[in-house]
Amino acid sequence: MTDRSALSREPAGASLPARLVERLWDGLIALVDAPLAALQRLVGAERMAYFFLAPNLIFFGLFVFVPIGICIVYSVTGGAGIFPFARPYVGAQHYATLADCGSYLDPHSCQADHFWRGVRNTLIFSAFQLVAMVGVSLFTALALNRDIRARGFFRAAFFFPVLLSPVVVALIWKWILQRDGLLNAAITASGGQKILFFVEPGWAMFWAVFVSVWAHMGFYTLILLAGLQAIPRDIYEAAEMDGTKPLRVLTRLTLPLLWPNLLVVLVLVLIRAVQTFDEVFVLTGGGPGTATLMVVQFIYETAFANQTQNFGLASAASILLGGLLFVLTLLQLALARRKAA
């Protein structure tokens, strides 16, 4: 199966520790080689791929597919029991509860009004976040791609918030935005009135989007920066020689060539926005009222925060959300394939 002599890279005159390491390596290869060679003879070379995929598949199945299966079982059973066998079968009752609406555009007419408020808020949040995140990330990537002073520092500075836990991010901003926070101190110091950011629905949604963009833009900037650096320099040099204006360079050269990366960013941002929970939950608690209540918070509260832990209804909502994410993931895969082609 393996040419052991080829793997032995012991150079002449190598030091004793290096030689020992090489020997150890050869020994390990020999140990693995024999049983794998026997297995390959038994199953054939084509099927060996399954053997190498098996550990990951088992792990993935255990922690992803089994929970999805359990979630489906929960969504068609009722009661407060935790074990599936202790829960009565209710069919599509939970799905019917979620779908029972006078008008889907008016959450108030729905039986599960909080779910639909969550859907509406998630859509609003996603739309604003998508535009803001892509716009800010693109602008930052373009700026960081230029030959500016302290470029390395700025690249690190913009990426730094990505390293922070979402809960920490939300707590920092909560401290800044509260009644006696840093921002209100600055406003009052400059002669203004305190603003209760978490009492006004518009402000609460604005800050939810802002904080999310602040925390994650570094990651998307990095993707776009990689795309920008992959664009050949000579195209820009040719444009410069032709006397093309900067705005035209951006719209006719940079953006079209960056489009594959932009598409990936668009889909990733959208998926993440739909899944949003931790930052917004810690920052606004879903309020004021239900102005920033997202679908995932509805699922969490339905499953855990009430005395009746309604795992059935929460699971049905999770399955619907999972379906939406599945569609978005397919979109991402299709776009990625198109990019590769």
Partner: protein, 425 residues
């Protein structure tokens, strides 16, 4: 040499024979803390372990939220601890162990914890003994006396109404520029003190949940109106969604709240953190048209029925409930006693500052003033469903999402739906 070998052999044999005697039973004890009671309990457990070397007790301190949200899941999955400190007594009652077969003197428990044991029992059960109260709490107003003095506003008297308190709080706040005139915890439990004072019942004559009645409507209307008129700030009730709890502890400690409606469990914390910054007092519960009542409540340590060591759990519980140990716990934690015998004798709060000692006296007196309907509401097995639906929907109305009538309809629907879901077999 031979003699030495024999000696070593004898010592080895002695050690090996002693091993079974030293084998320990480990008890897992899930706990949360509001103030200093965790440290006190840790100290008491050390003493228990010294007296009972065969038992080791691991105190797992978790956030309060985990007691209501994570522990029930653990218990339902059969993965719970041996004993736990809980507050949702009705909700956790299906998982509690009846300690009677393992207790030396069950009468001691019924004599001293009798009225509170009913809170820990399931409907139809009139005899089990699952645990004891680590504290009896009662809700009530905490008042920043210094702010009242600075504003030159007289403190409302013992029979003052909720409206009187609201008016006084607003007058003080306007004079001293305090942002939160009257703060009430965003909690259904605290709201029910107001509702019961105006005649709410929670449970109908048929024993079923009847959350929205005239008293409830009156109280909800008052709270909504107070938000509109600036007596209450939207930052507590209107700024978050769903069942989230919001207190005004920090705001009270920072002298931003003239009147804070919370409860006796805040005393230890305020005693420690306010110090001499300002004078604060506990006042008797404001009156409504029906009562001048607070909501009783508290936390209980209960045995969990999946424990594999019921005898050791009972032994630990007997130690913790012995009069001297429990008296010390109440005294050092600054808790209103949930043990009738100790309450009758009185607790000497030696470590309390004068303000805390006076507040404890007020709250202790308030226990006697709690209305029977309040005890009934606290003992109702589905009370947390009603509490949660109340704050969730009332919070929406306060934030401007719909009218009060719509909120009332939603509360009734939420409660019916959740109770039906819980009873599905």
């Amino acid at each position: 040499m031979k003699r030495r070998s024999l000696l070593v052999g004898a010592v080895f044999a002695a050690v090996m024979s002693a091993v079974p005697a030293l084998a320990q039973t480990t008890l897992r004890f899930t706990w949360y803390s509001d103030g200093v009671e965790g440290e006190v309990m840790q100290d008491l457990l050390k003493r228990f372990e010294a007296k009972n070397p065969d038992v080791k007790v691991v105190l797992d301190t978790v956030p309060f939220k985990a007691i209501n949200e994570n522990l029930p899941v653990q218990l339902a999955a059969g993965q719970g601890p041996d004993l736990a400190r809980v507050v949702d007594l009705g909700g956790v009652s299906p998982f509690m162990l009846d300690l009677r077969p393992h207790l030396k003197d069950a009468a001691y428990w019924t004599d001293n914890f009798g009225p509170f044991l009913a809170w820990m029992r399931q409907p139809g059960d009139a005899a089990s003994i699952p645990g004891y109260m680590t504290q009896l709490t009662v809700t009530g107003p905490l008042v920043n006396k210094t702010l009242f003095e600075q504003a030159g506003v007289a403190l409302p008297g013992p029979k003052a109404t909720w409206e009187d308190w609201a008016k006084a709080a607003k007058a003080v706040a306007d004079k001293v520029k305090a942002p939160y005139p009257l703060a009430i915890d965003r909690s259904g439990h605290r709201f029910y003190a107001l509702a019961l004072s105006y005649g709410a019942k929670m449970v109908g004559a048929d024993g079923k949940a009847a959350p929205v009645d005239e008293g409830f409507r009156r109280a909800a209307t008052l709270v909504a109106d107070w938000h509109k008129s600036g007596v209450m700030s939207k930052e507590l009730w209107g700024s978050v969604s769903g069942t989230a709890y919001r207190g005004a502890n920090e705001e009270f400690k920072n002298a931003q709240v003239p009147v804070y409606y919370s409860g006796s469990w805040q005393i230890a914390q305020f005693d420690k953190t306010i110090g001499d910054a300002f004078d604060w007092i506990a006042a008797p519960n404001p009156c409504g048209t029906a009562h001048c009542t607070g909501m009783p409540g508290g936390a209980a340590v209960v045995a969990i029925k999946t424990t594999r060591h019921p005898k050791e759990v009972a032994r630990l519980m007997e130690y913790l409930t012995s009069e001297d140990v429990l008296s010390e716990f109440y005294a050092r934690s600054l808790f209103v006693p949930g043990h009738l015998g100790i309450a009758k004798k009185g607790v000497a709060y030696k470590d309390a500052k004068p303000a805390a000692a006076a507040a404890l006296k007020v709250f202790g007196d308030q226990v006697a003033a709690v209305s029977p309907s309040a005890y009934e509401a606290q003992g109702y097995v589905f009370n947390r469903i009603i509490f949660n639906a109340t704050i969730s929907r009332l919070g929406q109305a306060i934030a401007g999402e719909g009218t009060l009538d719509e909120a009332f309809a939603r509360i009734a629907a939420d409660v019916t739906q959740q109770i039906a879901e819980r009873q599905k077999k």
